[in-house]
């Protein structure tokens, strides 16, 4: 963020954030999403929109940590919308239709015991997003793009 003390000035700017996300690193899991959430709070985005961004970003971040080797979570914030890209190097998704079904998960047992792997991540993202795109190549990786519009925008 360029001007940490003047939220109004920030409102007219485009803010870009980028975080590296490491597969298997559960200790710092969620940090990228929390930073994005703090940014939105700082510039005064409505709470309902922040919630949707937080849920979508967290599920996308966790999918890199749970399922991929490494990746990056990027966000672009404007007064009109928040766009999130989650791009990873990893196994990719063989059957997207199956992966989008609530309850479908390939997460191993030790991850399920932590309360992940409920198979609700991608459905949660879809529910929160105005635009949701997924591109995946088996053995190479997965890219998702999420757009959430700021409909309560007044000016």
């Amino acid at each position: 963020m360029k001007n940490g003390t003047n939220p109004e000035a920030d409102r007219d700017q485009k803010i870009c954030l980028s975080f590296n996300v490491e597969g298997g690193n559960f200790l710092s899991a969620g940090e990228a999403s929390i930073r994005l959430k703090h940014t939105l709070q700082h510039i005064g985005y409505p709470a309902s929109l922040i919630r949707r961004v937080a849920v979508a970003a967290y599920e996308a971040e966790m999918n890199i940590i749970i399922h991929a080797d490494s990746g990056v979570l990027k966000a672009e914030v404007t007064p009109e919308a928040v766009t999130i890209w989650a791009e990873d190097k990893g196994p990719g998704i063989e059957d997207i239709g199956l992966a989008m079904q609530e309850g479908y998960s390939t997460a191993p047992n030790y991850i399920r015991e932590m309360g992940f792997g409920a198979g609700m991540g991608l459905p949660n993202i879809k529910r929160c997003a105005d635009i949701f795109e997924i591109e995946t190549h088996v053995g190479i990786g997965t890219k998702i793009r999420i757009v959430i519009f700021n409909k309560q925008k007044t000016n």
Binding site: F26, L27, A29, G30, E31, S33, I34, K37, A47, R51, A54, V55, Y58, E59, M62, M114, G115, F116, A118, G119, M120, G121, N124, R127
Partner: protein, 112 residues
């Protein structure tokens, strides 16, 4: 109802976030599945769970929950307590199982 009233009524132990006990509770959610909590718990809710790892702090922070209660005498990991302190999350523990904690909280929240 404030978090500090909940702590007293249910005889909970405050493990982090002692400065944030004045907050009002908007409701509660019971689940050990993180994605389920992400999609169903609401701002200001108390989350009752058996999970003890640091990821519960990220979930509580992202949803702006009023408190997390780790139930059935489970001991939060050291890293969980440290992270909760850093993020300003109220982390509470109870000896009672989730069902009992939820039942007591339900009565308190819906009595008037």
């Amino acid at each position: 109802m404030k978090v500090k009233e909940l702590v007293a009524a249910l005889d909970l132990t405050v493990r982090s976030g002692a400065a944030k006990l004045e907050r009002d509770i908007t409701g509660a959610y019971v689940s050990d599945l993180l994605s389920d909590v992400m999609s169903n718990a609401r701002e200001g809710n108390v989350w009752i769970t058996l999970q003890i790892h640091p990821n519960i702090v990220a979930v509580a922070s992202l949803l702006n929950l009023a408190a997390v209660i780790v139930s059935r005498g489970a001991e939060p990991e050291e890293a969980t307590i440290t992270k909760a302190e850093e993020e300003g999350i109220v982390l509470l523990t109870s000896r009672e199982p989730s069902f009992e904690v939820a039942g007591q909280l339900y009565r308190l929240l819906h009595k008037g």
